[in-house]
């Protein structure tokens, strides 16, 4: 038997390991090479092209009544704001005549004090000297109540209290405490409900948004009172918190709808529906890089300065007019902000939405426009439509053709 030389065995082993290592190191392919065209660009470089697609004539419109005032997350209050003049109204749930203490219903014998809490959501931080005034109002407020119905009652005789808002406070809880004889300013109705209205003043025309019943920090009324329990003075002191039974806001000059225009927002809110007809060539065989919906305001858009609204664009899974079910998938919802004083074209990137119009998905080629927060923002733009003399809605589509992979 021939015994191999150990050095030979070692050499062979090292050689095999080296070859194996070299082979394995090449297993992860890296092919990237810098290319210059046209020599190293089979298929060439597809030029980027652009198409301006107007909305389909007379197939655009606005629908109203989606979200009413008070249903949205905010109550609007303003004073002299060009966008609108608003008052916030709230009716608190009834406060009972008696409450149960030690398993016995005990009559409320005295109201020591009460606190009305409001949550400031947004203000124009550049306006100073903000002050809220809380008035007592009748409790028969409802969705039919108008500005004219309640405005005469915002008088000194009905004033419950006022809150001075520090200039440094951008958002947070505001509290008015009424105690002693002032508690008679709270005027409960026959079943214990209390209605209030809120206005503001400031060093300049301005507005604020406070939380509604639909949001965190809705208005509430905390009552500190005594019940008939002479034997236990500690338990005789009770506290009760009442939240709104109803809240809304009323505007002095609600928008008047013009069917030849496309209002969006407001309260009750309006949404605009635009329809498009994507050319077959775009629908079937191009790659869309960017699609921008361009809307022309008919008049300057007013809102609350430093509180921009969000214009949202949705697709729909079926075209059922006002009740078209919208696509709620996050990446197809396009948004842009609208500042107070906007008068130029409003552009909103709807690329992902237009991309799903391509192919044979059956998704209707329409766009719903809404304002967020709906029925809460001061901003309610009115855009030109296809019936306007100019400035009809359009989508600017940037795309390139299919790559000619087969070109040798």
């Amino acid at each position: 038997m021939i015994v191999p030389d150990p050095r030979t065995v070692l050499l062979r082993s090292a050689l095999m390991v080296g070859i194996l290592g070299a082979s394995l190191s090449g297993c992860r392919d890296e092919l990237t090479t810098p290319a210059d065209c046209p020599a190293l660009c089979p298929g060439g470089q597809q030029p980027v092209q652009e198409l301006v697609l107007p909305a389909t004539l007379n197939m655009d419109t606005s629908y109203f009544g989606y979200v009413g005032p008070g249903i949205g997350p905010s109550l609007r209050i303003s004073n002299g704001l060009p966008a609108s003049e608003d008052r916030a109204l709230t009716v608190f749930l009834p406060r009972p005549d008696s409450i149960t203490v030690n398993d016995t219903a005990r009559a409320i014998v005295r109201l020591d004090s009460a606190a009305i809490s409001l949550t400031l959501q947004k203000r124009d931080t550049l306006v100073t000297g903000l002050k809220l005034f809380i008035y007592s109002l009748p409790t028969d407020l409802d969705t039919n109540t108008t500005f004219a119905d309640v405005d005469p009652q915002f008088i000194a005789a009905n004033l419950i209290d006022s809150i001075v808002v520090p200039d440094s406070l951008k958002a947070g809880t505001l509290r008015a405490v009424i105690s002693g004889v002032d508690t008679i300013r709270l005027k409960p109705d026959s079943i214990g409900r209390i209605g209030i209205g809120v206005t503001i003043t400031a060093n300049a025309p301005t507005g604020i948004r406070i939380a509604s019943i639909a949001a965190t920090g809705s208005p509430n009324l905390t009552s500190y009172f005594r019940v008939n329990l002479p034997s236990d003075t500690t338990k005789a002191k009770q506290t009760l918190v009442r939240f709104p039974q109803f809240n809304t806001f009323v505007s002095q000059n609600p928008a008047v709808s013009d069917l030849d225009l496309l209002p969006v927002g407001g309260a009750p809110s309006a949404r605009a529906l635009l329809r498009f007809a994507l050319p077959v060539a775009i629908r079937d065989s191009v790659t869309i890089l960017r699609a921008t919906l361009e809307m022309t305001p008919d008049v300057t858009i007013h809102g609350l300065p430093n509180d921009p609204a969000t214009l949202q664009a949705f697709g729909a899974i079926g075209d059922l007019g006002a009740k078209s079910p919208i696509i709620s998938s996050g990446n197809t919802i396009a948004t842009t902000t609208i500042d107070d004083g906007t008068s130029s074209t409003v552009s909103i990137d709807i690329t992902r939405l237009v991309r799903i119009w391509q192919g044979s998905t059956g998704v209707p080629q329409l766009v719903f426009l809404a304002i967020s927060p709906e029925a809460a923002s001061f901003t309610s733009p009115v855009f030109r439509s296809t019936r306007s003399a100019s400035g009809a809605p359009q989508v600017r589509i940037t795309y390139y053709q299919q790559f000619p992979f087969e070109r040798p």
């Binding site: 082979s23 392919d29 890296e30 810098p34 660009c41 992979f405 040798p408």
Partner: protein, 385 residues
């Protein structure tokens, strides 16, 4: 039975076959591949017309003593320089699988092989600026291609006598080229995009070959091959058809001594037949190619020539596909060194080769690469004398 298992094994991994990565493979039908065994690679392909484990000459099959299966792994490291910059690449290839052997009690040899015909393995990144919506935006395009054309050969050979072998083969040319184009923009408000497609190729060809041994020291070989036309489909739709070349090859082997063997061969391919088809499709065109190769093999033990021989080779070839219409033809030079050994009573074998090659077009485009060729051969039914 074992031979069948090996064939099935090879068939299973065959779709992974590919060949060399190169920017010169980005145009036309890609970079033509070399269907040469690891043994032949050590000679820079110079002895491939006599090599039964290569698939260049069907007549060579006649000299296989037993059923033999071979396959190769070829990692490659390359540096590419274009006017757009310099970059290093790496790739692993499996360029040739073959199974062949004699038919018992006859003078016939049969073989099946699958190799790469052309390779389109590349990834090209280019940038340019384009005015989009009135603003210049930088556009970055990445074109990735994997795959290419493959050559499945069914061959038969016949020993006409002690001095003459002849053979014929039927070739199926097939393969898929997967392409992916991605585009991103410096302005991220333009969404990145990606397009993909599959290009498939289909064609048939045939080849004839002969080996003549006028003396014990000298052997001559010749082959001719026609590949007809290939159809090119994009995603199952007919895109175009393209003429594939005729191939004419001739080679000689000379043994000055028992320990030394020299080989030389020349191959001519009529790729210009594809020129008009490619130009019609917007390509840059093609030209005929000449390939010349020479090699020396030194064996220390003539009775056991497989025991660590030393092989050297050098090669020159023209590349068929132009980068620009009417432009110059790229060229390639390579040198190689190799060796090999057999074990397990010659039933198993390994061959190694290391090749350094250079490709060039003018002063603008060049690349150089190192290829480590690792070939394995199995002869499960080999009977010892």
């Amino acid at each position: 039975m074992r031979a069948i298992v090996i064939v099935l094994f090879l068939a299973g991994i065959a779709p992974a076959a590919s060949a060399q990565s190169s920017v010169f493979g980005s145009r036309g039908l890609g970079l033509p591949s070399r269907s040469v065994s690891a043994h032949g690679w050590g000679l820079s392909g110079a002895g491939a017309l006599f090599d039964p484990e290569s698939n260049q000459n069907p007549a060579a099959l006649a000299r296989l003593l037993t059923v033999t299966a071979t396959f190769q792994i070829v990692p490659e490291w390359r540096t590419v320089e274009t006017p757009a910059g310099k970059e290093s690449t790496r790739l692993t290839q499996f360029p040739l699988f073959s199974v062949g052997g004699p038919l018992k009690s006859t003078f016939l040899g049969l073989g099946v092989s699958m190799g790469s015909y052309t390779s389109r393995d590349f990834q090209l990144v280019s940038t340019h600026s384009e005015d989009i919506r009135g603003v210049p935006v930088e556009v970055i395009d990445t074109l990735t291609s994997r795959g290419g054309m493959n050559d499945i050969r069914v061959a038969a050979s016949y020993l006409l006598g002690p001095r003459v072998d002849v053979g014929a083969a039927f070739h199926i040319i097939t393969g898929v080229n997967r392409l992916d184009q991605a585009r991103v923009f410096s302005d991220t408000s333009f969404l990145p995009s990606r397009q993909s497609s599959e290009i498939s190729y289909n064609g048939v060809g045939f080849s004839l070959g002969a080996i003549f041994r006028p003396s014990s020291r000298l052997s001559l070989a010749a082959t001719v091959r026609s590949d007809g036309k290939a159809t090119v489909d994009r995603d199952s739709s007919r895109a175009f058809s393209v003429d594939l070349p005729f191939t004419f090859g001739a080679g000689l082997q000379f043994h000055p001594s028992a320990k030394l063997m020299t080989s030389a061969q020349a191959t001519y391919k009529t790729w210009s037949g594809a020129n008009s088809d490619l130009l019609e499709q917007g390509g840059a065109g093609a030209k005929n190619t000449v390939e010349l190769a020479g090699g020396i093999e030194f064996t220390s033990d003539p009775r056991r020539p497989w025991r660590r021989p030393i092989r050297f080779g050098a090669r020159y070839t023209q590349l068929p596909f132009l980068l620009t219409t009417g432009g110059d033809q790229p060229t390639e030079y390579s040198v190689s060194i190799g060796t090999g050994a057999r074990f397990a009573a010659q039933r198993g074998g390994v061959d190694l080769a290391l090749e350094h090659n250079w490709r060039k077009l003018g002063s603008a485009y060049s690349e150089s690469g190192w290829l480590l060729v690792f070939g394995v051969s199995l002869r499960p039914a080999l009977q010892q004398p």
